[in-house]
Symmetry: C2
Subunit: 210 residues, 2 copies
């Protein structure tokens, strides 16, 4: 059975996946780009000049074997994007998903076909319903769960995630969107590994037990 | 100038230094011994059979170069120990501190001299006042800040800690005494390093910039 996987989800030492407030100018609030600098430095982001060490090896898993993505409304746009009929996401004409991409929102709109194989579908659905729709679209391939923090949290808590890759960045944000709430005893259902990188981040993998 | 250091302070992935509720039977609440199993497996704890790898190397720093310890009331005893005039701490006749040891409490009692060089002094004082008293006692040696979570948090927030060693254990406690609250932007004043151990824990060191 294909898997539901989360990759490259970055959090601060204190567990925030985003700072605050989130806006068009600052999608990650006071975190700025700090949660993702580790990724910008890799060949995953910069194929010519990026480094090819442990961070790059982990980052590249984001691209491999996916037939659909699910993301929360907060990943698709800044607060209030639902009021802008022309908003097409952060990623320009050719978003980096290249598959059907399901955006969870209580205010669905018609599908949006972009260049490069990404079609955004807007879905007012429970986590389990969204997974069912995305699995159907993905066929033999896996489903990527794209975040943000509350979406990862809700899907993990509902037992719908098979593999989770977190990247702990050595900063203390103090406020924002917290990942860990409600995930007590995750170690009972996942094997957890940890590897620190020379860049300063620590990669955590959670693999669901069979 | 001698340093104020924290060593072997274990937290869960979600940043709890203890579970709940804390009691005589369960000093770490629902965390049980899970936050400290990494340490029990080392030569620091078991000189004969313990392992001598990265965990042991870090753990041994707890013993080296200290002339005094400061701890919070919650480390000295279970809730309500202040009502028991016979309570002498968790550690039996010969506690493992071997120096003057200052217990912060709003209900001070006379000093308690134990075997092996540990004398407990009970202090109703601010973090800065406690540091001044402990530094005086420690002379040329460092002062160990022993925890719990709220004591580490308060002293770090007050700028009184020079070096902090945390051990992140791969469990999600969900509730208890949280370390990180109020420590936003710690990375501005500390150099932070991270190293994962084969045991599954990750050691974090915070070294105050000069």
């Amino acid at each position: 059975m294909p898997l539901v996987r989360v990759h490259n989800f970055s959090i601060s030492l204190d567990g925030f996946g985003s700072g605050e407030p989130q806006s068009l100018e600052s999608p990650f609030g006071h975190a700025g780009q700090r949660l993702h600098e580790w990724m910008f430095a890799t060949s995953f982001w910069d194929r010519e000049a990026g480094q090819r060490g442990v961070d790059a090896v982990f980052a590249a898993r984001h691209e491999l074997g996916f037939g659909a993505e699910i993301m929360g409304a907060n990943k698709f746009g800044p607060p209030g994007w639902q009021d802008d009929p022309d908003w097409q996401g952060w990623w320009g004409d050719e978003p980096p998903f290249h598959t059907p991409t399901y955006v969870l929102t209580h205010r669905p709109r018609p599908p949006l076909e972009m260049a490069g194989g990404t079609t955004f579908h807007f879905l007012d659905a429970s986590p389990a319903e969204a997974i069912a729709v995305a699995r159907e679209a993905a066929g033999d391939l896996d489903v990527r769960l794209g975040g943000g923090a509350s979406v990862v949290r809700d899907f993990v808590a509902a037992g719908l995630v098979d593999h989770l890759h977190l990247v702990v960045v050595p900063i203390v944000l103090g406020r924002g969107a917290r990942l860990w709430d409600g995930l007590e005893a995750l170690e009972d259902t996942f094997d957890i590994e940890s590897v620190s990188s020379p860049s300063g981040v620590t990669h955590l993998t959670f693999t669901k037990r069979g």
